[in-house]
């Protein structure tokens, strides 16, 4: 009876330690520990196997997408979008949005991604901006037409950098699909991909790409994700010396246009502009950020973006 109680005690002790080790991503350490415990007769063979299974399952289920996988996913998302929209090819505005965007990204919480941030213009009057996982960011000609100065452009790009930084695109992938990827890759049988296995992986990849594209072009992100991206834009702008009111000035315009209309692009995927505007204004007021002079930047904006 006492021996049984002891084994129960050790089972729970290993379980608690196992949880701690899993936080460090170490299913293997858990396995070494349980082997020692079993060898010394502290836990039964069944309990050892149960704990090992739990550890492996926990580690695999918890595995996030790597930066490299996010990069390949983002490329596929961008390639799909570019299959639907024309790329605007003009050196000066392209260089300018890359300068503003890459500078703002340096002030973000994730200045470095696998292959860095890249900004491109979509040749459409639709008003929208889209962040692909990994750091390719599109902004439409229609959106750029609405921006009146560099502060507003920095706000648009800072908001999209926020989505990349928070990995919002990855959140759009169905959880069950990603678990299937992880389980498939972790299975013992997959040592070298056969034709059928590669086809299955491509199908899972394709499904993940479609999930993200659908979020970007049709469903949009949640209000919480939009609010977090706004906050991220405001913080980047302030850290970098831009006037954060660039965001509220721009949102004000969009909120006015959104009132009483159902639209395409950003108006369909970004409901609640007025609420976002109120929240952003309250952040600026709370932080007591002063108004900044930006005449020099306004000049280069006018010279670089002339649609």
């Amino acid at each position: 009876m006492r021996a049984m109680m002891n084994k129960r005690f050790f089972f729970w002790m290993f379980l608690v330690l196992g949880m701690l080790l899993l936080l460090a991503g170490c299913a293997e350490v858990v396995q070494v520990g349980t082997s020692v415990g079993e060898g010394m007769g502290r836990i039964s063979k069944e309990d050892k196997e149960r704990l090992d299974r739990m550890a492996l399952k926990g580690e695999k289920a918890a595995r996030p997408m790597t930066e490299q996988e996010e990069y390949f996913l983002g490329r596929a998302v961008a390639a799909t979008i570019l299959g639907q929209y024309r790329l605007y090819r003009n050196e000066r505005p392209t260089r300018y949005i890359n300068e503003v965007g890459q500078a703002v990204a340096l002030a973000s919480d994730r200045p470095f991604t696998y292959a860095g941030y890249h900004f491109a213009i979509l040749d459409t009057d639709e008003v929208n901006a889209l962040a692909c996982p990994g750091g390719i960011i599109f902004v439409t000609r229609g959106m750029l037409k609405k921006a009146q100065n560099e502060e507003e452009l920095a706000a648009i790009l800072g908001h999209e950098v926020g989505h990349v930084s928070h990995r919002d695109g990855l959140e759009a992938i169905q959880r069950s699909r990603w678990l299937e990827v992880v389980t498939f890759l972790g299975s013992e049988s997959v040592k070298k991909l056969s034709g059928a296995e590669l086809a299955k992986l491509v199908l899972l990849f394709e499904g993940s790409v479609n999930d993200v594209v659908k979020a970007l072009l049709v469903n949009g992100y949640s209000r919480e994700q939009e609010a977090a991206a706004d906050l991220s834009a405001l913080t980047c702008m302030h850290r970098f010396g831009y006037d954060p009111r660039g965001l509220t000035d721009f949102l004000e315009k969009l909120a006015r246009e959104q009132a009483g209309r159902t639209g395409q692009g950003i108006f369909a995927t970004h409901p609640g502009m007025a609420e976002r505007l109120t929240e952003a204004k309250s952040v600026i007021a709370g932080e007591k950020w002063p108004r900044l002079d930006h005449q020099a930047r306004d000049r280069r904006f006018r010279q670089s973006l002339n649609f």
Binding site: L73, A78, A79, T80, L87, P111, H118, V202, A296
Partner: protein
């Protein structure tokens, strides 16, 4: 018996602490290790994806590290703490572990998967994606842009 149990307990606790100790893996295509902890500081050495570096200290968002016997600073977003590995106890176990690592390293969303997807969907414009990613702003150019706009280097 109770004492032995505590020894096991503390042994495992120490392994947990070791697991949390700091060796980092580069998670960007190429990480730049710099002389000082700021974005445009002179470059000491570049480390490609997957390389392992040793942390010496952390200050804010920067780590002072050693890579190939050179010391410098790398930004926190370019590295990831490496999962701790206990030396495998048996040859069989070692083989199993390395196979798992190979499987994870060589699979997933990789160039092989991208190539297959590309062949399957010719409407996807990977050619344009390559052009977008090949477009580079030189570091000096970005620095000049920041200065000309009276902005602050973060």
């Amino acid at each position: 018996m109770v004492r032995k149990s505590w020894i096991i307990f503390f042994g495992l606790l120490m392994m947990t602490s070791a697991a949390l100790a700091a060796t980092f893996k580069i998670i960007t295509q190429e990480a730049v290790i710099r002389k000082d902890k700021r974005f445009f500081a002179p470059v000491v050495i570049r480390a490609p994806y997957g390389e392992v570096i040793q942390e010496l200290e952390r200050q804010g968002d920067w780590f002072r590290v050693i890579y190939r016997e050179k010391e410098g600073w790398v930004h926190i977003s370019a590295v990831q703490e490496q999962a701790f590995r206990v030396p495998s106890l048996t040859a069989e176990k070692a083989q199993e572990t390395s196979q798992e690592e190979v499987a994870l390293a060589g699979k997933g969303f990789t160039p092989e998967v991208e190539k297959a997807l590309r062949n399957k969907n010719p409407k996807m414009r990977y050619d344009l994606v390559d052009q977008i990613q090949d477009y580079k702003i030189a570091e000096q150019q970005l620095q000049a842009f920041i200065r000309a706009g009276s902005l602050k280097e973060p």
